[in-house]
Symmetry: C2
Subunit: 216 residues, 2 copies
């Protein structure tokens, strides 16, 4: 992705057909579709290859296991057509490195979670953001996940990372973040789910978001 | 489970039929079967209900997301017949609490990861074991996951938890741990995967492990 800007659709639905239908509707306005376990567990992993017809798929598995398990999880995502996977970085260097190796072998991308904004993140995640960013840079991720609804933390992550890594930011829309604030604070890619898929006009909402990003 | 002792089969295979076949073979000697994403992503979530015919299933999803996503992941596991789920605790209180709530609504069990032994765990996990145990107790998990191949850390976890919570310990077998050492250090349930499913005689291996546990 490399420092472009764009919109990623968080397809957190639990209905396979609805997920396909909405992704198809918004495909013109999105640069990627993020697929998480709610959808995978409601259908199966083939949904990745199905959705990748409409946009590059990022498997948001928030991988958080020991290295030999992480390796298999990554392979499953890429074998099924994912363009990128999201891993936690909290499990340490080796667990993230195996994800990097598998991503490389599929010529695909790795993103790591370095910051979160939900209630509870203050206990273990926030105090470690410096180390999580440093580790992610060392392992050579393509980008990181950091919240778009907390400009102060997002700006800190951008400062810690420098300019060369992408930041993908959820938290815009239902969770209160604004596109412009997130971009201003250092995000490249804005991740939006509920605001799009809960709308009666997902295409219009996606277009509006994409326009905002383009016009920033 | 509550302070019994027992053997849990970590069914980390990627072949659905083989997974069923081996679980069937060892069912007499196991107290549970732990299912992780390698198997789920290689087949689908129905494998949980299939395996639960032979032993109670623990979904080892190492859940590590924001609360509203964790909730859905837990539901998927229990809806499909899991008796327990494993969640990380480093995501903080709220993320673990929603897992507890869903587990309660299915009259099922919640286990949290409080310690790990892979290379990399020293960076973020080890220094926080006290807080992760405290949080897990506060949320009211039924038990925790802590490594069976590191007696010192396991003993520490047992001391932090007190006597009333179960400890489920992986790391015995291929990862170098011994059944007796893990039980001695405070584990109740020994989790064994590769040593069983990579054996030509999984039944005999499971029996031997179960005997060791019973005779401890």
């Amino acid at each position: 992705m490399n420092n472009e800007k764009g919109l990623i659709f968080a397809c957190d639905l639990q209905d396979r057909e609805k997920a396909i239908e909405i992704t198809k509707k918004v495909k013109k306005y999105i640069d990627g579709v993020k697929v998480n376990y709610p959808l995978i567990l409601s259908s199966d992993i083939n949904i990745i290859s199905k959705l990748s017809r409409y946009a590059p798929v990022i498997s948001d598995f928030k991988i958080a296991d020991v290295p030999h398990i992480n390796k298999i999880i990554c392979k499953k995502a890429f074998e099924n057509g994912a363009q990128g996977v999201i891993s936690h970085s909290f499990l340490g260097k080796k667990s993230l490195e195996v994800c990097r190796e598998v991503a490389d072998s599929y010529n695909s991308e790795l993103f790591s979670v370095v910051e979160m904004s939900h209630s509870g993140a203050e206990k273990f995640i926030h105090p470690k953001v410096d180390d999580l960013c440093e580790l992610s840079k060392k392992v050579g991720v393509d980008g990181v996940i950091a919240p778009g609804n907390d400009a102060k933390r997002l700006r800190k992550v951008r400062n810690l990372l420098g300019k060369n890594l992408d930041i993908l930011s959820p938290g815009v829309g239902f969770q209160g973040g604004e596109v412009e604030n997130a971009l201003e604070a250092g995000a490249n890619f804005i991740i939006v789910g509920r605001k799009i898929y809960r709308s009666n006009k997902p295409k219009e909402v996606a277009k509006e978001l994409k326009d905002k990003i383009n016009n920033f």
